[in-house]
Symmetry: C2
Subunit: 151 residues, 2 copies
DNA sequence: CTAGTTGCAAAACGTTTGCATCTTA
DNA sequence: TAAGATGCAAACGTTTTGCAACTAG
């Protein structure tokens, strides 16, 4: 269960914004706000959750802009997609490297898991299949400790 | 890269149909056709692909019925869901136990992978997180051998 | 200034639902 | 013959798109 340090996150935000600029995209307040929300959130939000979170501070924000910005971030491989248990798509923009997630079927929370030796797994898959592995998605569903004790 | 033997598959089809009946559901030609397609296919089809595959032989088949039958199979845990690279949801009804899949980003084919020691992984996740793991989804994306040689 | 970005509303998409008709047991 | 399943079409929620107005560089 991993959480980056605050200054690490701030540092990455700057790097991501710089990359977006370097790729020729312009910086608008909406774009910065969405990228900031994605990079800082530990909650693995859906697009609508990002939108609703930003709405009070950015009343002119539109859902379409959030969609477009998430697509841009995905293009630059600065977010990864994951399946929650509400059936919808959620996003991890805080750690964009492929890593496993754990979804609680009780309360819906999504946490990161630090699994070592994933590379070994990838090598094994390569050896078995001959595929050149580009990416992966490893997600678990279960009941978190708190929800277990509540039962 | 796993393929069940033909008689194993036929045997499982009978078992699944029996289970469906035991759960109080009726047997209609449409239901049998969809379940058969799911259990026999190695292609990991989408719902629409199942529908289109059956349409010539069952011209009265409706998409809604395929949706309902897949939902029923999912209820009975006789199919598992997986993410393809067309963005849509695909299904594995031939091996309904959670197992990894490999999606070719070149030709779109989806194959099963036989990975041992997945249980160890699950135990490690349990130890790290305290979650009671219920299920998981492990999928890889890459370029298959044939698509690699074509490049 | 002008090309890129936004917000809106409409369109497109996949999936679900209500209901009259038909079918299984 | 009664409960359940089907097929249709309408409804639904989510995501994408076209476009006029706006704005960053």
């Amino acid at each position: 269960v991993y959480l980056g340090r605050v200054d690490e996150v701030a540092e990455r935000l700057d790097r991501v914004l710089a990359r977006v600029r370097e790729h020729g995209f312009r910086m608008t307040p909406q774009r910065v706000a969405v990228i900031r929300a994605l990079v800082e959130s530990t909650a693995h939000p859906s697009i609508e959750q990002v939108y609703l979170q930003l709405l009070p501070e950015y009343p002119m924000m539109s859902l379409a802009t959030v969609y477009k910005t998430v697509a841009l971030m995905q293009e630059l491989e600065e977010v990864i997609e994951l399946a929650a248990d509400d059936g919808g798509i959620h996003w991890d923009g805080r750690r964009p490297d492929p890593h496993p997630h754990l979804v609680c079927t009780g309360c819906g929370q999504i946490v990161d898991v630090e699994l070592e030796r994933i590379d070994e797994l990838v090598h094994k898959v390569l050896a078995l299949s001959g595929f050149g592995i580009v990416t992966r998605r490893i997600d678990f569903w279960g009941v978190c400790a708190r929800c277990q004790s509540r039962e």
